[in-house]
């Protein structure tokens, strides 16, 4: 990991118009609400949050699959937001996506060889012989038998399909791979295989990952830094170890405690904090801190004022009026 910024997002906002219940009324649902984040070359940045928190929308905004409502995204110093399709083209092959559902994201009527070859063909990678050779090479890279190229997606298991999805994303030698819940549809044992594969590929191909998931265990395992998202905002961003050892935001604390523990002596015992209720509708975001209706520590300040994401210590960002380790645990620290 270096300190070179590969992708920088500044105050990215994405909102959608949704129709309201009454005739003609329209509401604005803000899926991503002012996210600023740097992705450093060679790192894995994990983004974690519940479904509906806007993490997938953020990912699509960062790679310009969705136009941002406001804010800017820079890639290697070039501002991408506002560029035309044609101008974006040279950047497309640098940023590739791996999707959640390996069953739905592969066209069932095409051979997996064709699926992997598509990005190569579209970007005129070379002659068809060169493309064939590259596809076979990619199959080997992701641990699939290259003789499978003529088969169809339904002939593969979930884990193998996700390997195909990864192979497709690697064809054009991207520098950034955005993986949107790549393992959440897989069994635990298969999930481990895919995660290991992704780690190997990162070392081998010097990839940068933006890794999106709702499972903090998975995110923690793969990420160098982790950002926690809630209702379209980053509420905490820190190095993975630090975030785990000492969560500052009450939401992070709750997320950590929700991960099922094996209780086989290898883990810190955490007191289970069960959050009540669901994530609020992004069209009706609460005043003040978005998390306050579900937060055990909420005060009047939290109900009226939305805390900004501040660098509270070097490389530690948190958006909370009363960061945990700094306030509630003071007694523990001094004891």
């Amino acid at each position: 990991m270096s300190d070179e910024v590969l992708l920088r997002a500044t105050d990215v906002v994405k909102s959608f118009q949704v129709r309201g219940g009454k005739v003609g009324s329209k509401k604005t649902a803000t899926a991503v609400n002012g996210v600023s984040v740097d992705i450093l070359r060679g790192e894995t940045l994990g983004i974690v949050g519940e479904s509906g928190c806007g993490k997938s929308t953020l990912a699509r905004c960062l790679v310009q699959l969705l136009p941002v409502t406001s804010g800017s995204v820079e890639f290697r110093g070039t501002t991408l937001t506002g560029l035309s399709r044609r101008q974006l083209r040279p950047f497309r092959h640098e940023m590739q996506l791996v999707f959640q559902d390996p069953y739905a994201s592969l066209n069932p009527r095409r051979t997996v060889g064709d699926i992997v070859a598509d990005p190569l063909r579209i970007n005129r990678f070379g002659t068809s012989a060169q493309i064939d050779a590259r596809v076979r090479e990619l199959f080997v890279t992701v641990g699939l038998d290259p003789s499978y190229v003529q088969r169809y997606p339904h002939e593969f298991s979930g884990g193998q399909r996700q390997r195909i999805g990864i192979a497709r994303s690697l064809g054009l030698n991207p520098s950034l791979v955005v993986a949107d819940e790549p393992v959440s549809a897989l069994d635990v044992s298969v999930q481990a295989q895919v995660l290991n594969l992704m780690a190997d590929l990162q070392d081998e191909l010097k990839l940068t990952y933006l890794f999106i998931a709702h499972d903090l265990g998975v995110v923690r395992h793969v990420s160098d830094r982790v950002g926690v998202m809630y209702l379209g905002q980053l509420v905490e961003l820190a190095d993975a170890d630090v975030l785990y050892d000492e969560p500052l935001h009450p939401y992070t604390e709750a997320l950590l405690s929700a991960v099922p523990q094996l209780n086989d002596g290898t883990e810190v015992e955490r007191e289970r904090i069960v959050l009540s209720g669901d994530v609020p509708d992004p069209a009706e975001r609460p005043l003040g801190c978005p998390f306050h209706p579900r937060c055990a520590y909420a005060t009047d300040e939290c109900r009226s004022e939305d805390p900004a994401l501040v660098e509270i210590r070097p490389r530690r960002f948190v958006a909370c009026h009363h960061p945990l380790a700094l306030t509630h645990n003071i007694g523990k620290d001094t004891a």
Partner: protein
């Protein structure tokens, strides 16, 4: 449940989806069945309740529920059990409810199927149940339709429905797989609480050892339709004996430590047509030996396992750091 076997005749041959599964569930006990998809854990439960409606399926063995053999009962005699004494919770709350009826209607329907309550009484009970499973404003929400609930809330509705007739046994098929971690924690907590208040026994089916560790008193690990290890949860999680269980445990990403690589089980769950005569796990097992060509029986008392590895070999492998979770 004794020696339950389910096989399907397919064009490619006979698929033994469940092969000799035995299971005891005591009153108020939570028993976990764990295994990868395709290991036959759901099929076992469905066939027990006569929910496998495939003309090509052959089911054998014996299931005794409260002293009565229920396997192979005709539909008519099975119906009072299903939803009455045995409730079920399913994996995907998004599709488990009929989209065109209100959740209250669906709960009332089940209550009235099994009791003599009037519509009014049943509706009052439905509201009570919805409130009990933690649906806010249950009195109003009882008339809402499934699509108006979030995934977690829908799973609560399904649980309320499963509990509506005070079942003695609750079967939960991957009840939290489709949910967020935070919602999963809510649902697991709810199920634990309801076990205490309703006194039902629970069979929970999952592929996630973490869920087992949270919930279960005892656990059976299944591979390719066969039980490979079974015992009290603490023993199986802390001192697993079967190499497959080692793999399952090792694959869970830990919050506590960040290892470079997760332990994996090489290969995929094999096609059920290719299950070997001997130990089903042998083709993927690091420690397979000649003896594995014969099928190991489930041995031991209390903590049982089906593996040819001797105690000393196991200890040696484990102390090597290999196979350790």
């Amino acid at each position: 449940m004794r020696d339950l076997s389910v096989s399907f005749a397919t064009r490619q041959g006979v698929v033994r989806a469940v092969d000799g599964l035995s299971l005891d569930v005591a009153a108020r006990e939570v028993v976990g069945i764990v295994g990868e998809s395709g290991s036959g854990k759901s099929v076992a439960m469905y066939s027990m309740l006569g929910l496998v409606r495939d003309a090509n399926a052959t089911i054998s063995g014996s299931v005794v529920f409260e002293g009565r053999e229920i396997l192979g009962l005709p539909d008519k005699e099975m119906q009072p059990l299903r939803g009455g004494q045995i409730g079920m919770i399913f994996q995907d709350p998004m599709t488990a409810l009929t989209p065109v009826f209100s959740v209250g209607w669906q709960i009332v329907e089940q209550i009235r199927q099994h009791t003599d309550m009037t519509k009014g009484q049943a509706k009052a009970r439905a509201i009570e149940l919805l409130a009990e499973v933690g649906i806010p404003d249950a009195r109003r929400r009882v008339d809402s339709f499934p699509h108006e609930f979030s995934g977690g809330m829908r799973q609560r509705v399904v649980i309320a429905m499963a509990l509506s007739c005070n079942p003695r046994l609750l079967i939960a098929d991957e009840p939290t797989t489709a949910l967020d971690v935070t919602t999963q924690a809510q649902i697991l907590e709810l199920m634990g609480r309801l076990r205490d208040t309703h006194g039902s026994s629970i069979v929970i089916i999952t592929h996630d050892m973490g869920v087992i560790a949270e919930m279960a008193d005892r656990v059976t690990v299944m591979y390719a339709g066969r039980p490979v290890e079974s015992g009290p949860e603490v023993d199986v999680v802390r001192a697993p004996r079967h190499p497959y269980t080692w793999g399952l445990l090792g694959a869970v990403p830990r919050l506590g430590e960040r290892s470079e690589r997760l332990a994996t089980i090489p290969g995929n769950v094999m096609s059920p047509l290719e299950v070997p005569e001997g130990c089903a796990f042998a083709p993927r097992c690091e420690y397979a030996m000649a003896q594995c060509a014969q099928r190991p029986a489930l041995t031991g008392t209390g903590h049982q396992h089906a593996c040819w590895l001797g105690e000393e070999q196991r200890v040696a492998i484990r102390s090597d750091g290999k196979g350790a979770p």
